[in-house]
Amino acid sequence: MATFPFELVSPERLVYSGAVTEVIVPGAEGEFGILAGHAPFVSTLKPGVLTIKGDGPAKKLFVRGGFAEANPAGLTVLAETAIPLAELKAENLAQMIRDAQEDVEDARDESIRASRQQFLEQLKSAAAAIEADARTSH
């Protein structure tokens, strides 16, 4: 299969860089897979699991906050948080969900509350997906 260059960047470091065959990105409007030669495309991320397929077993990372940019030169994903699923503890995720829950309760006006509520839902569904993943891999 054709490969293309892929970079996963967090503000603190370059998390992943290399040639891959497919990347599945949790986009704000649904997950999408990127293959080599994708049309130029920019999408924001929702919290979720990013899957990198290349040589060897697929790598899965939890990402939140940021965007993905595909162009003829390859795919770049900028994420504020990017943690390999293996290193992500259930408590961390639970803490994030609690924080998001508090944010929803603290929200003063309706539109902020709605957007935070949406974020909370996305976080919860990501947590569910991660749990399901952990079950299948064991």
Binding site: E7, E12, V42, F67
Partner: protein, 293 residues
Amino acid sequence: MASLKDLRNRIASVKATQKITKAMQMVAAAKLRRAQQAAEAARPYAQRMESVLGNIAGAISGGPDAPLLLTGTGKDETHLLIVLTAERGLCGAFNSSIVRLARERALSLMAQGKTVKIFCVGRKGHDALRRQFEKQIVEAVELRANKGATFADAQKIAEKIGAMFAAGEFDVATQFFSRFQSVISQVPTAQQLIPATFAAPAEAPKGSEAVYEYEPGEAEILADLLPRNLAVQIFKALLENGASEQGARMSAMDNATRNAGEMIKKQTLTYNRTRQAMITKELIEIISGAEAL
């Protein structure tokens, strides 16, 4: 004239000081390397962010639904100055040069009849500005002194600033920090954060770069990314500041070590002269005593 014992004590104390400054210099050198690496590691993120935002912003900035973070409130009345400094001193003119730049800006803005608000990050800047601008300081954040800045720190600061902007507490935000050029040169810099400014795309997009497809729309992406960009810009400034601080401290401590060395040399010379003078004096006394017999 100081006695021999006094001189000995003085030399010992300067030597102890020299050891401390030498150690601080070496610690700063090690930390500088780490700070530089952190700054370099953060660069790709900031660059990509800027290029994507630049692309989208160029397309949308003229439109009526452009977000306020990009266009500003259209007023120029209240200025927020974000002053980023270090937690600790003993780093040459690092803190004071940032503070001076901010102070000059604040005074000139006030002279023009604008309202100035100051947001201090780092204890040193707050200490230096507190006396003169007590009424203007709206917020002061301290960072943990030992660890380098993390993105979470920057995010917290950005959130506070974003909330203040949303509440209409200021029109223009500028951050003051020190750009790291080299170990011997750090340039205090002012950067405007709100309304956001982007360097125009360096070169016209190549022919192969077709028009991007945006999901969700361009406006939504922009609304999502601009607050993040605020955090990224602050993070970048914090990292630059971290590297600058260590660089400044390194050269300041290098100077201090050298000065201590010179002082030790001078005092050892005086010490030896005094000692010899005393021996000569005693000899003369003995000889003249013997001759008198």
